[in-house]
Assembly symmetry: C2
Homo-oligomer: 258 residues x 2
């Protein structure tokens, strides 16, 4: 199978760097083809702007989504964007690997999402009607592919527990797992999270590595998070609110998992 | 009073650009001093890296937080970072204004947070003991200052309602409002959100502008979101889990609001 690792840490000798090297080798040893987008090494341009098109449709006012659509449809995207889209289409599984900075992905990776996720590729896909609201949340161009987050945190696991002060890790990652990965169609596997990174020394690094290795070995068999499909009948269209009879007592992120 | 607007949209003629201009004038007309950090116009460097220090402490391996601490303590930060920190210290209120892209702030603004929020300024502040876990979540260098988000979305309000498919807006913004603003001490006001931006025409732009004007007039009197203070007794230390007797049936983000 083909695996794309999108990796966002500025220091190759970091824990993240070691885990990335380990993951690459583990997957290759298992016979998979692997590409790594090492965003810092690539000096990835993080900010989406009017220069992301070779030739703009309108020069008077920059509408990000309209220009993205125009550039994607007409082969007018910057080469760096088109190249990453090619890797995405090639991949059977995508791993986003990053340290959790301020409760989200590093800016350089957020900018990868914003620029590579073109209109017509990751959003703006499919028809809107009384029965369907575009192909998204379980449908879309990346349907059939798997995705997983590999995340490190300085904070302790208890800080991210159901009643931990930072919020539960599932909820902290929901905007990424549901909003960035499930939205364009990926099946999203439970994340691989390493907490309290300052405590990871040579001795317990082995345990982290082994746990990651197991997750990578199981990449094709692990059960995805059962997010609800948008167009499967669970949501009213176009309000996109969950049907009243489904988990009627539940609100918030957790309501969107079956 | 002094107000800092940190603004992240690539197009001056956008809805965001108009609202920024309106907010600037409204605040100035009320007698406030206002600075605007227009990140796209400033060509703000989004990616945190080793070049953020004029002179590094260690050149062999880049530890982001250690280098941030060293540079902040010794006046070795890049000029762009120090300048934004000066604005933050000057401000009585800070407004972060941005379009919601992929359920979070644009990369350029995330990179502003990552680079400007130095160790010793926004985190790594205060002592850790049996009774206190640093000065954060309600304490910290920005205590006494107010903060508010001004956000636009393409999606409809119902999509961000308690049972809406994108998740409730309060939860989508929690990692920013609680994790980025409350963490270093800001009092966080309820956000000003404009939904379904494609529907905003000249006619209903007036209503949006008036609603924003009211929020700006009330900037000093609006009641902040009552997030729970970390060191006020509500959390076990160092586990930082909410005390068992407080809202015992509640988990997730909502548990951290009184």
């Amino acid at each position: 199978m083909n695996v794309l690792i999108v990796y966002a840490h500025p220091e190759p000798k970091s824990l993240n760097g070691s885990l990335k090297d380990f993951a690459l080798k583990r997957l290759q040893d298992a016979g998979h083809a692997v590409q790594v987008s090492d965003l810092y090494a690539m000096q990835w341009k993080a900010s989406l702007d009017a220069n992301d098109s070779i030739e703009r449709q309108a020069n008077e006012r920059f509408f990000p989504s309209r220009e993205s659509k125009h550039a994607f449809e007409n082969g007018l995207q910057s080469a760096d964007i088109a190249r990453e889209q090619g890797k995405l289409m090639w991949a059977d599984a995508v791993i986003l690997q990053f340290p959790l900075w301020w409760f989200s992905m590093p800016a350089i990776l957020k900018g990868w999402v914003e620029r590579v996720y073109a209109y017509g590729l990751a959003y703006g896909v499919g028809e809107h009607s009384d029965a369907r609201w575009g192909e998204r949340y379980g449908e879309g161009k990346f349907a059939g592919k798997r995705a997983m987050l590999m995340v490190t945190t300085g904070g302790w696991e208890s800080h991210y527990s159901p009643r931990g002060i930072n919020g539960p890790m599932d909820d902290v990652l929901f905007p990424i797992q549901h909003g960035i990965l499930y939205y364009p169609g990926f099946d999203v596997l439970p994340p691989f999270v390493v907490y309290r990174t300052s405590r990871i020394d040579e001795e317990n690094y082995g345990a982290v590595r082994d746990a990651l290795g197991q997750r990578l070995d199981d990449l094709w068999t692990t059960k995805p998070i059962p997010f609800r499909q948008q167009n499967g009948g669970a949501y009213a269209i176009p309000a996109l609110t969950l049907r009243d009879d489904l988990v009627p007592d539940r609100v918030g992120f957790a309501a969107h998992v079956e």
